[in-house]
């Protein structure tokens, strides 16, 4: 059985030179947390709302040996706002997760399950031309399996 049997969520692939501000606005207006990113006519990766939030958090708390907590710093309102304003000039290509693999339209269910569990985010489904045809989430997959189990 392949993922072709599932009803995928529709997906709008955004260009890699879209600003982070636009990406954030699309996510909020469409009530979604992930968007596939395309470049050169094909799939590039996925941007997660967490990646957008990471861009607001001071870099001092990023990566290994970064500050473990920022309780002492209060809300740093000015700093956070200045980071959000900088989104207008930052491209989504800077934060896109290129590790998240696309799934082929005829990917077996078990493989899709493994990838969803490994990357812990919805994954893009692509056709033979690497055009994004939809997004597959753990929720859709689990719903399908529960339905099958009840039969």
């Amino acid at each position: 059985m392949t993922i072709a049997a599932l009803t995928l969520s529709p997906a709008q692939c955004i260009s890699s030179d879209t600003s982070l501000l636009e990406v954030a606005q699309i996510m909020l207006s469409k009530h979604i947390n992930h968007l596939p990113v395309c470049a050169g006519g094909g799939y590039l990766g996925i941007v997660d709302i967490g990646d957008i939030l990471s861009g607001i958090i001071p870099t001092a708390a990023h990566g290994p040996h970064g500050l473990a907590h920022l309780k002492f710093a209060g809300d740093l309102h000015n700093l956070l706002i200045s980071h959000v304003r900088a989104f207008a000039t930052q491209k989504v290509a800077e934060v896109v997760n290129r590790e998240a693999p696309p799934l082929d339209a005829d990917c077996p269910l078990l493989e899709a399950m493994l990838m969803l569990s490994r990357y812990d985010m919805p994954l893009a489904v692509v056709d033979a031309q690497r055009q994004v045809t939809g997004m597959l989430s753990s929720r859709v997959l689990l719903g399908y399996l529960l339905q099958q189990a009840e039969k």
């Binding site: 870099t59 990023h62 990566g63 040996h65 500050l67 907590h69 002492f72 000015n78 700093l79």
Partner: protein, 448 residues
């Protein structure tokens, strides 16, 4: 029986131990410089080949390892690994930033002073790992370029580490080999280190300090920081500070107490581990102790062990006695000239290659000069080596591990530190620090 092993292998190879040991030494150091293979692996392979080729027996190899250095390093690494968890270092950094009302130039000076002080008592890499994230957060909030702050933190770490026996690995090695105490380092190096630190700030002010500006609004954000919130474990803070104070006191009193630094550091580490374990069940104790031991930089420890063996191989073969004689010939046996050669060569080489293997090699060379110079004169050579090797690390981005760690942070923060621009500013400053050291050594120890 053990002693005959080397002779048998040397006969089997049919080559002179001097030639074999020199080939192993040069190859080991060459591969270390390429950084293609982890340096600890290269040093251990070099050490193994020294024994397998018959230059050293296993017993000679083990006796070549300076376990005083190894014990002191390991003990201090354990103490720091536990202490840093309580947030005390971030507390001090934030407190100091607030003390100067987050004004940009005084802030740079304050963070540099804090870095230099921590670095005098902690490993330089650990110091920058603790200070740089706070510096990045503050400069981010003040909308200032972090570059001048990161540059000055690198300099402060390397300069501060020069001041004490435990501040930088070369000093630990020199202190152990030359029987120099914590107080010896403090009295002989700390005064000039303070002068060099102050002088280094002047060019930094002229280059960056004059044009730094932050708005009242942004500074108010820093003044609103609550440094007490940086402390994550008050009990651990009290335990750690008590042990650190007692360990430093132990270093100061080591001579009258007839104790070696390794004993003091390792015992302090054991006491701190015990205090952490008290009142916890067996499983938690094992888990926490395991985690603490995992934070010891075993790569550095095994690198030292391998190097000590490699160097003892060429030492046994007579290469270092020959090198010592050559240096004395070049300087005509003149004490002042020898001190200056050691100081400047150490500085320039340490700016481009790891200072630890260099110092490991130079220690037996200087010990061999004991046949020409008296104990007091020999001490001057040790101070030349310490000043050159530690301060030389400031010359380029690859001159010290702390430099590369800061560069890594800067890259992630979107303000990469490039090799050439860094060197164009850093190398002249390093040369200035060595020039000041030259004057100091001459006036204090060499002037007829």
């Amino acid at each position: 029986m053990h002693g005959s092993g080397s002779q048998v292998s040397a006969v089997l190879l049919g080559m002179s131990p001097l030639l074999v040991s020199l080939v192993i030494f040069v190859l080991t150091y060459a591969v270390i410089v390429t950084e293609k293979i982890n340096r600890s692996i290269v040093a251990l392979i070099g050490a193994g080949v020294m024994v397998l080729s018959g230059v050293l027996t296993q017993a000679e190899a083990f006796s070549g390892v300076d376990f005083n250095t190894i014990g002191l390093l390991t003990g201090m690494m354990i103490i720091v690994a536990i202490t840093q968890k309580c947030g005390v270092f971030q507390y001090v950094a934030i407190w100091s930033a607030k003390k100067v009302e987050a004004k940009p130039w005084p802030l740079l000076v304050m963070l540099s002073v804090v870095t230099a002080l921590f670095s005098a008592f902690l490993d330089n890499v650990t110091t920058v790992l603790l200070i740089v994230p706070v510096a990045l957060l503050i400069t981010d909030a003040l909308k200032l370029s972090p570059y001048p702050y990161l540059f000055s933190i690198i300099f402060a770490a390397n300069i501060g580490g020069t001041a004490t026996l435990i501040g930088d690995p070369p000093n630990i090695m020199i202190g152990s080999a030359a029987n120099l105490t914590f107080n010896d380092f403090l009295f002989n190096l700390a005064p000039i280190v303070a002068v060099i630190f102050a002088l280094t700030l002047i060019p930094l002010y002229l280059k960056w300090g004059k044009s730094m500006h932050a708005t009242e609004d942004d500074r108010a954000q820093i003044m609103a920081f609550n440094e007490h919130e940086a402390i994550t474990d008050w009990r651990l803070l009290k335990q750690s500070l008590t042990v650190i104070v007692l360990v430093i006191l132990g270093f100061v009193l080591a001579h009258p107490l007839k104790l070696e630094p390794a004993t003091i550091a390792m015992f302090g580490a054991a006491v701190l581990l015990l205090l952490r374990a008290l009142g916890k069940d067996g499983e938690t104790q094992s888990h926490e102790t395991h985690k603490t031991f995992a934070e010891v930089e075993w790569i550095t420890i095994f690198f030292f062990i391998g190097l000590f063996i490699v160097v003892s191989g060429i030492e046994k073969a007579g290469a270092l006695t020959w090198l010592a004689n050559q240096i004395i010939q070049v300087t005509g046996g003149d004490h002042a000239a020898t001190a200056m050669v050691i100081l400047w060569v150490s500085a320039v080489l340490s700016a481009v290659v790891d200072n630890i293997p260099f110092v490991a090699t130079m220690i037996p060379v200087i010990q061999n000069m004991g046949s020409v110079f008296g104990p007091e004169q020999l001490n001057t050579l040790w101070w030349s080596l310490a000043l050159g090797a530690c301060l030389g690390g400031n010359g380029t981005l690859v001159g010290a591990s702390a430099n590369l760690v800061v560069a890594g942070f800067a890259e992630r923060a979107g303000h990469p530190i490039r090799f050439l621009p860094f060197m164009l500013m850093a190398f002249p400053l390093m040369v200035m620090s060595i020039a000041v050291s030259t004057v100091y050594l001459y006036l204090r120890y060499l002037m007829p």
